[in-house]
Homo-oligomer: 209 residues x 4
């Protein structure tokens, strides 16, 4: 298994990763539901589930943001090697674990002590996703190991600059979450929106047109 696996076209890694992310992002909805006996006031029952929607929204756009980043990374590499495949497996491992803490946040938001634990746990898993993404990118970009010819050093720096802040962001959110879990949830929300839907992009797009 050593010298046989050398270098591969990147298509299959992309397809496999897309599959996993598509499933993770879609499985999240399975945890949405109203309590039994909600038929008397279904509207209220639906509204009561807001922590579940919030957790769903944050996890969806966080995973979506990581998909965008994965897209950017593989778009800038020319091929993959065995170590890259395995680091990618690590990324997928943490990503596909995310529905579990998401479920806990959805369930225990507004329940003081349990909320703290759930939020910190959620933050730690997000941090592990972000760390493994950073490893993946550092590995690929170190001495331009797997990069495309036409990826400029500026682009590498830019991608570095985009990946590193999220590490810091998650560390801060976890620290905040120990004292103020609700604030940490807001931070996760802001980060998800900021990464997935930056106003800058749309502004630039509008300006272009």
């Amino acid at each position: 298994m050593r010298s046989v696996i050398r270098e591969y076209p990147k298509g299959r890694l992309e397809a496999f990763t897309d599959g996993v992310i598509a499933i993770v992002i879609t499985l999240l909805v399975l945890d949405l539901g109203v309590k039994a006996g909600s038929e008397d006031d279904l509207l209220q029952a639906i509204l009561d589930e807001w922590p579940a929607y919030l957790a769903y929204f944050i996890s969806f756009f966080t995973v979506g943001a990581f998909w965008l980043r994965h897209h950017t990374i593989t778009n800038n590499i020319r091929e993959v090697d065995t170590a890259f495949l395995r680091l990618n497996l690590l990324v997928i491992f943490f990503l596909s674990f995310l529905p579990f803490p998401t479920k806990l946040v959805a369930e225990f938001l507004e329940q003081e002590d349990a909320e703290r634990v759930a939020v910190v746990f959620y933050g730690i898993v997000l941090l592990l996703v972000a760390v493994s993404f950073n490893l993946l990118w550092r590995y690929a970009s170190h001495k331009r190991r797997l990069l495309n010819r036409d990826t400029s050093d500026d682009e590498v720096r830019e991608l570095n600059d985009a990946l590193t802040p999220s590490l810091a962001g998650y560390v801060i959110a976890i620290a905040v979450g120990i004292a103020f879990p609700t604030v940490a949830v807001v931070l996760f929300l802001v980060m998800a929106i900021f990464i997935a839907l930056p106003l800058g992009t749309f502004r630039a797009a509008v300006r272009q047109s």
Copy 2:
């Protein structure tokens, strides 16, 4: 993350979206089942689940219809940019939310008040899917931003004409659903069949042969 993500081949966006839609469309079946203790009269128990089949049928063909439209849209664009990827994430967000209101419709059909809430909620989510689809297409086709060279203006107009009526249709169905939820369900059903299985296509195909 700004200037790095510029333009991409569209293949991975298609694969990811296909993955999500395939999962959404297949997950719907998980909510089908008969009540415990149905062994005495399983046939009756299966027939009693008709609201679940109806909801399943409508959601399946509605999602299928949106897949067909997504197929048409990406077939008419030559590549994707960052804003398009993010708008697509929004489409996926609402699409993958759909199993939740589908479950509510299946559960509360025939339960007067709850039915009204479930049907209107369902309609709103469908409307949001349709709105995000329109945004995606308007963004891509505005001043032919991402269009293929060989997509004619006539074709753009035709696709516009196909996407806009569903917006109106969902608004009407929601309004109707407030007063007559059962009628709204019929409207959703008709729209799903109309978009997914237009007789026109088959007639044309038969004529061709």
Copy 3:
């Protein structure tokens, strides 16, 4: 949506169908499990679930066999049109419905009356899958509408001959199932094995080598 959708490359249809079939085939396992309180004699509890394994096995290889056939069909066509996409949606609709009757068979096997209902219901869904597959293939092959140039008439006939018997087989199995549900289950099993794992292929392969 009419004249815009004309002809498409077949790749995306294949990917979407593969996604759906992959999910259907994998979801089946979710219904496997032992009853609560099985810790005292887990081995017995696992063995007691044999109807569930049987249903799982049959559905897995039946869906697998349909995947092989879909593979053969799309391998023999050069492109897809709108009507083909929609017929394919119909195929997917029945295929992704299959986990529901599978669950019923697994649950009610050995419960006389309920078994009859579950087995006939299962057979009807399989028949609908087979019918929609036939429609798909007839549509594509009628007057060689969508066929590859290098698909010979002999090959078309052979595929016809492979698809039609399963229709007859399912009709017979349903009829048998009304009187003798257990025999029908054996028929489904034999058909699944026969389509998915024909000894002929291996014999030919061995002879080749």
Copy 4:
């Protein structure tokens, strides 16, 4: 169905297999959860679930390792034939069955008798996966039936040498599991890590840079 299916491009087999593996690997998380009434001490409740994490971890990296091997196999073949497609279906069958014994291990670890049964059952399924993988590779490589031109005999031998030990490993782990189930779990864990994350690869990668 006999002479029609002859040889195919391998892309669709890869896509389908990737889909199934992506789903299997992601479904595993659905079984993670805390017991009802955990809000008083959620941290403890999360920690109490360690057997579930262990089972999740082992199954995730075992499946991941098999994905890497599948990747290696298909990378070394030039096309697929009918028998290969069917052998691959067998691989998928055992792989997608894995979530069931995983769930049993997660549930019954630390419950003496039940643990023994669960662990041995788990090992048998893993062995069946490994056996079917070996069949797949032997079939493809026998007299270089489906191999790429540029795959050297050395590479074939190396892949043989990588696939065979896991057979032996699983047989040993099963035998050990009958007497000492906990030790067998450790063996499964070590094998998963060894296959999925060999230090050798990273060492080589670091040396290269």
